[in-house]
Amino acid sequence: MAVESTFGQPSPLLERAAVEARYHNVDALYEETRDMRLFGFILFLLADCVLFSSFIFAYLFLRASAPTWPPVVNGTQIGRLDVAFGALNSIVLFGSGVTMHFALESWKNLKTRAFNVWIVTTTLLGIAFLLGQAHEYTSAPAGLTWSGNAFGATYFTLTGLHGFHVFAGVCYLIVLTIQANRGVYTGSKYFGLTAGTLYWHFVDVIWVLLFVLFYLW
């Protein structure tokens, strides 16, 4: 690309790209769009953090202004959530974060079979987490309903929002698996997988917060 420049200095990016192209088949054009898309995706995740933070603020506000917690409904105090089951479900989700990490590493090292094993495991663990959440919802302590009181309102809304994010993530993982196996991604062009991994870790981090706030506190 010729540019009339009084400076005559080559772009450091192009220079590095030219060197890397000889060894890693790096595409400078791709690198720049990936750069933008990664930045945009991180901004999206930060905005998603604000979404969860707003509802977490609501939970903290209502909990701080409640006379007792869990609240008393019709004379009886709502029971606490099942910490053991919640911890088990958390381990399932964190495990899926570990497997997703290995999936991305396998892909980067061009180990396709290992990648498939890891990403399918991640997907299954994600689905297991959702099933666990469904069990939590159906066996919630008496009085803990979405419209019953502030505890139910915040618990079901926050975990529901999180569950919705996990569900969307599971769908995305399925799409990524299909795309990867169709050859859309190569050893040097795999932005979708990076984004998927980041998203999945984000979902994990949010769950840490929710587990601490609702189960442990």
């Binding site: 690309m1 540019v3 009339e4 420049s5 009084t6 400076f7 200095q9 772009s11 450091p12 990016l13 192009l14 400078a28 054009l29 720049e32 769009t33 750069d35 933008m36 930045f39 945009g40 901004l43 999206f44 930060l46 905005a47 998603d48 604000v50 979404l51 933070s53 707003s54 509802f55 603020f57 609501a58 506000f61 209502l62 202004s65 409640a66 609240p71 979405w146 419209s147 019953g148 009181n149 502030a150 505890f151 139910g152 309102a153 915040t154 079901f156 809304t157």
Partner: protein, 576 residues
């Protein structure tokens, strides 16, 4: 001219020119071209402005009579609710950020489009969808609890409330995506050599606004999602009987809605910072302070929300930090105002229509800002909250600030977008009508509020008994509100006639220096055939243009064109 030896970052990706869009749908309906999207935002925003303005005039007709017999109370309550909702979310945000930001920012940074053009198109189309949802509420009973829609009344009021929540969540998504898009664009797609401190000030303003758009709007979506759940599924976030709190909504709502007003005004500040140097023919004063104060206002804007809640039941000790921070926001704002005045000093000012709007803005916005200080003062706010003083204040900063600056930007950049000049005489007449109307409508409101007239009152009989002049002043305001209607009508007429038979503008009718004026009017779909190289800030009128690699070689010292001056050019050589 300072030549610095920055290594030039050649953005290969953005040097790529995609093929031209084909067919009517791809060119004008589902277009990914930021300029077409800007036009779509503009048309939509203007249409909603006419609708929102009509609601305002119905309000003013109701207030002609203290008994309030023109409309039923319930209808009136829907009118002020829909007026506020439409103006805030379907007019100000699409017009100021969506149309001006989309049209000009990519051109100013020498880019061919924004970072994510498809996302940009989605952002636009969410606006008509949101409008559809909002106006469908008229079939079931439009929302009637004010543009703030506090629960419990907004839950009690009927199904219109849930449609309101849904529609504003949709417009919030549009806003958030635009913020994301603009941040990435400004970070990653600036022309080679355009460092942060060589960026035009409108781009700085757009960037600061985009930060708010991205992070604050999500908080609104959360608040309204909670409200929607409360309205439709009886989820008791805000029901005290079940452990909820109405105050929670106020916190969640205002955490967005205060930054929202900076979303309106920061791009407006950017417009003023572009127009003043061009028509004063001298550099902007205090470039760095103006640029950084935009960022400071954006960040500080997140910290002051509870000044909307001083008498609402928050703990008294909380009032103090919010009061302090709100006062402090006055400082970067004041710096801008003084810098603009210093830009006018020593200039060779030509009062075209955009310059008239921009100069008047300095006065009206300062006044609105000062009344904001009154409201930030907790003890005085205990009197003024919920009164017409507040209504006067925010209309001064929104109508006399954001809208006035938008009109300035409209007159300034219309020639770039369409290749035609708007009629100056009509423009000047519209300007005077607008500001006379603004003063007549909103200045007396401060006094009425101090005297005790509450806002959102369909009838003010009790107040009129205590303060008989109220009837005269309300009628006074109603009469002058029609001046503003006339002004907007003139603008619409001006646009229609100019598009068909306005004088040709050429590349740079105003003799300005930012990159958008270096290409044709209207620009080709790809904006720049060759990505320009930027060597310095654009505003130094004593230096030649600091660009290399431009498609067309312009005069190194641009001057206003004949069409603008309405008289022949006379260039007197130096030393003659």
């Amino acid at each position: 001219m300072s030549v610095t030896a920055h290594p030039i970052d050649l953005h290969e990706a953005h040097d790529h020119i995609h093929p031209a869009p084909q067919g009517f749908i791809a060119k004008y309906v589902f277009s990914i071209d930021h300029k077409v999207i800007a036009m779509q935002y503009f048309v939509t925003g203007l249409l909603f402005m006419l609708v929102g303005g009509s609601f305002a005039e119905l309000i003013r007709l109701q207030l002609w009579n203290p008994k309030g017999t023109f409309m039923e109370y319930h209808t009136y309550n829907q009118m002020f609710t829909m007026h506020g909702t439409v103006m805030v979310w379907l007019v100000l945000i699409p017009l100021v950020t969506g149309s001006l930001g989309n049209l000009i920012m990519p051109l100013q940074i020498g880019a061919r489009d924004v970072a994510f053009p498809w996302l940009n198109m989605l952002s636009f189309w969410l606006i008509p969808v949101s409008g559809l949802i909002l106006f469908s509420s008229f079939f079931v009973g439009a929302p009637s609890s004010g543009w703030t829609e506090y629960p419990p009344i907004s839950i009690q009021q009927g199904p219109g409330g849930a449609l309101w929540s849904l529609s504003i969540i949709v417009v919030g998504i549009s806003s958030t995506l635009t913020g994301l898009n603009f941040i990435v664009t400004i970070f990653k797609m600036r022309a080679p050599g355009m460092t942060w401190t060589r960026m035009p000030l409108f781009t700085w303003a757009t960037f600061s606004t985009a930060i708010l758009n991205l992070f604050a709007t999500v908080a609104l979506s959360a608040a309204l999602l909670a409200l929607f759940f409360a309205q439709v599924f009886d989820v008791p976030f805000f029901d005290a009987a079940r452990g909820g709190s109405p105050l929670l909504y106020e916190h969640m709502f205002w955490f967005y809605s205060h930054p929202a007003v900076y979303i309106f005004i920061l791009p407006a500040f950017g417009v003023i910072s572009e127009i003043l140097p061009t028509f004063a023919r001298k550099t902007i004063f205090g470039y760095k302070m103006i640029a950084f104060s935009s960022l400071a206002i954006a960040v500080l804007g997140f910290t002051v929300w509870a000044h909307h809640m001083f008498p609402s039941g928050i703990a008294p000790w909380l009032q103090i930090p919010f009061m302090v921070l709100t006062y402090l926001i006055g400082i970067p704002t004041g710096i801008k105002i003084f810098s603009w005045m210093a830009t006018l000093w020593g200039g060779r000012i030509q009062f075209t229509t955009p310059m008239l709007y921009a100069t008047a803005f300095i006065g009206t916005f300062s006044f609105g800002g000062i009344t904001g200080i009154y409201l930030a003062c907790v003890p005085v706010d205990l009197h003024e909250h919920g009164s017409y003083f507040v209504v006067g204040h925010f209309h001064y900063v929104v109508a006399g600030g954001a809208v006035a600056a938008f009109f300035a930007g409209l007159y300034y950049w219309f020639p770039k977008a369409t290749g035609r000049l708007l009629n100056e005489r009509l423009g000047k007449l519209g300007f005077w009508l607008f500001f006379i109307g603004l003063t007549g409508t909103f200045l007396p409101m401060h006094w009425l509020g101090l005297e005790g007239m509450p806002r959102r009152y369909a009838s003010y009989e009790t107040f009129a008994k205590a303060f008989p002049d109220a009837v005269f002043w309300n009628r006074f305001e109603s009469v002058f509100s029609f001046f503003m209607v006339a002004s907007v009508g003139l603008i619409a007429f001006n646009i229609f006639t100019a598009i068909r038979s306005g004088r040709k503008a050429g590349n740079n009718p105003w003799g300005a220096r930012t990159l958008e004026w270096m290409i044709s009017s209207p620009p080709p779909y790809y904006n720049f055939k060759k990505i320009p190289i930027v060597l310095d800030r654009p505003y130094d009128f004593t230096a030649p243009l600091p660009y290399l690699n431009l498609d067309e070689e312009p005069d190194p010292y641009p001057v206003p064109s004949e069409a603008v001056l309405e008289r022949p050019r006379v260039a007197v050589p130096v030393g003659a």
